[in-house]
């Protein structure tokens, strides 16, 4: 099949993220059009570093199981492959195993037989340190530091795979490809590229399909049906009230991308500078002119490291005398907290070990240093005190020691004891557990496109 010049290839993107809630009516409607495969992304860094750091998913298990069940049953019924990438939000090994366990349940409950390829994307630290020594880990912009100790200090590092490990799985007969961290577009481009469709079109088709109905004029419940031929892509939604327009499809290339025209993948860059978008009917758009430029093979790395443990206090201030001198007052509260911490916890809590931040809602909590109007004073200010320390115990004690000065630190306008801060909760202190930070913005240069990824084949059946 790989050598035949096929007329066209058709695929379904059933939802922007596995667990987001597939519309089963729209899926049935799209499946009736005889697609060649189903692919779906299940991950993102958008929610933050916690999922990668802890190895936990961002969606409830039930939501992932419902969507996975719909996809796998549709795929088996039509005898077409199902590809799922960036499993369990962050695409680490533990995330992949979590989805694999759910797939086993679906297989058992619906008596399916599933030739499965599981592709792991987590990176061995010894391997990465060897690449670093060989100058085969390169910084992206904005550049971040990299060293053996940063690699060793990471909770988890994943590599974002390209199409090649997916293609290897399909060539080996997989009905279900369950991949760790993966380029979103690669999930959809893998099979069209194998079958000889032009790379510019194959990649661009993947890019516009991967977010589900986000490519439509108005987001709604439905699935995306995409067709790639030798000279064009067509894309349309199935689902009530949904439509793709030339503007909505062109605009989708802007979303969450720093450059709307050039999109870097492992094997090169696809270039949309010359792409044209044209309405075929009220809901379908035709695209032509997308190009692909081959470049040296690189694999993007994502890493998370523990930033500490956190405890917070949530509350607010309504007193106008405090609000008009909030910066100075919080500065005094902060000094008082530092003195209490030094007195009570002594050497255990050196100031360099912990962080206390006041998020001031109503002033500049949302925009921080970018706030254009920080002098505007509201009638009420929300405060989140955020204490971060090397242990949960210490973070909790920092927050406990912060409560009294927040409540009672005096101002000269009032004589006698005041209670300045309205605590939302009792107990006031909420332990948030471990918090993480992204610590890598780099690519690795492997010897082959598949060496960073480990594939296991298995037959799932009752």
């Amino acid at each position: 099949m790989a050598n035949e010049k096929l007329q066209q290839i058709r695929f379904i993107s059933p939802v922007g993220s596995v667990g987001g809630g597939i519309s089963s009516a729209a899926l049935d409607e799209a499946m009736a059009q005889a697609p060649d495969f189903i692919a779906c992304d299940a991950g993102t860094t958008d929610a933050g570093p916690f999922s990668l750091g802890t190895g936990t998913p961002a969606f409830p298990r039930e939501a992932v199981k419902r969507d996975l069940s719909l996809m796998l049953r549709a795929g088996r019924k039509a005898n077409i492959p199902v590809i799922l990438g960036s499993a369990g939000t962050a695409g680490g090994d533990v995330h992949v195993d979590w989805v694999l366990e759910i797939a086993r349940e679906v297989v058992a409950e619906h008596a399916l037989t599933l030739r499965t390829a599981v592709i792991y994307a987590e990176q061995d630290k010894t391997y990465l340190k060897r690449l670093l020594r060989e100058d085969r880990i390169l910084p992206l912009d904005p550049a971040r530091p990299i060293s053996d100790s940063i690699i060793d200090g990471s909770s988890r590092i994943v590599g974002m795979m390209g199409v090649e490990p997916l293609q290897q799985a399909i060539l080996n007969g997989a009905d279900f490809v369950l991949a760790g961290r993966c380029s979103d577009s690669a999930l959809f481009a893998a099979i069209p590229l194998m079958r000889g469709f032009p790379p510019g079109l194959a990649w661009h088709a993947g890019k516009i399909s991967e977010c589900g109905t986000l490519v439509c004029e108005t987001l709604g419940k439905g699935v995306i049906f995409t067709t790639v031929s030798q000279d064009e892509i067509t894309i349309r939604p199935y689902g009530a009230g949904l439509r793709c327009t030339p503007q909505s499809v062109a605009a989708h290339s802007l979303y969450e991308n720093s450059n709307p025209y050039l999109h870097r993948e492992c094997s090169g860059t696809f270039d949309l500078t010359k792409a044209s978008f044209e309405a075929i009917d009220g809901v379908t758009v035709r695209i032509r002119g997308s190009k692909f430029i081959s470049e040296p093979y690189t694999v993007k790395l994502e890493g998370a490291e523990l930033a500490g443990y956190q405890s917070i206090i949530v509350g607010g201030i309504r007193d106008p005398y405090i609000i008009r001198q909030l910066d100075e007052w919080l500065g005094s509260v902060r000094s008082y907290i530092d003195e209490s911490v030094a007195r009570v916890l002594g050497d255990k809590a050196d100031k360099s070990l912990y962080s206390i931040i006041f998020h001031r809602y109503g002033i500049n909590a949302v925009m921080g240093g970018l706030e254009p109007d920080p002098k505007h004073l509201p009638h009420e200010v929300g405060i989140v005190l955020e204490a971060t320390a090397p242990t949960q115990d210490m973070a909790h004690k920092l927050a406990q020691l912060s409560r009294q000065p927040l409540l009672h630190y005096p101002i000269k306008e009032w004589v006698g004891s005041i209670t300045a801060f309205a605590c939302l909760h009792n107990p006031a202190v909420i332990d948030r557990g471990p918090v993480y930070r992204f610590n890598l913005n780099h690519v690795a240069v492997p010897s082959t496109p598949v060496e960073m990824f480990r594939t296991h084949f298995m037959d799932l059946c009752v």
């Binding site: 860094t45 802007l254 969450e256 709307p260 970018l370 254009p372 918090v435 992204f438």
Partner: protein, 101 residues
């Protein structure tokens, strides 16, 4: 008139954990051209609004999407201690009031 009165969507979002990106979108070509021809949107004006070196601002005019786009490094990496907007979705506000002559 201000940009918010002409655009049909002004939005901000992370483009990965280290970059903030801003899209300004229009309902029709006339509105897009009006803003483009005004010259009010450019890398230098954006750099001033966002207190960022001008050489760090990436600016794109996307006529087929009826959109302008800016990207800058995030002032704080997503999720870093002190970051108050994990998804970067509420950083577009200064663009709303850009005067379009």
């Amino acid at each position: 008139m201000i940009l918010a009165d002409i655009a049909n969507l002004i939005r901000s979002k992370n483009a990965g954990p280290f970059t903030l990106t801003f899209d300004i979108m229009f309902a029709d070509l006339a509105s897009y051209r009006r803003v483009k021809d005004s010259g009010a949107l450019n890398a230098a004006a954006f750099a001033k609004l966002y207190r960022c070196p001008v050489d760090k601002v990436h600016y794109f005019e996307c006529e087929n999407a009826l959109a302008f786009k800016f990207s800058i490094p995030r002032p704080l990496t997503q999720g870093e201690l002190g970051d108050g907007d994990t998804h970067g979705g509420q950083q577009f506000i200064p663009l709303m009031n850009v005067e379009i002559p």
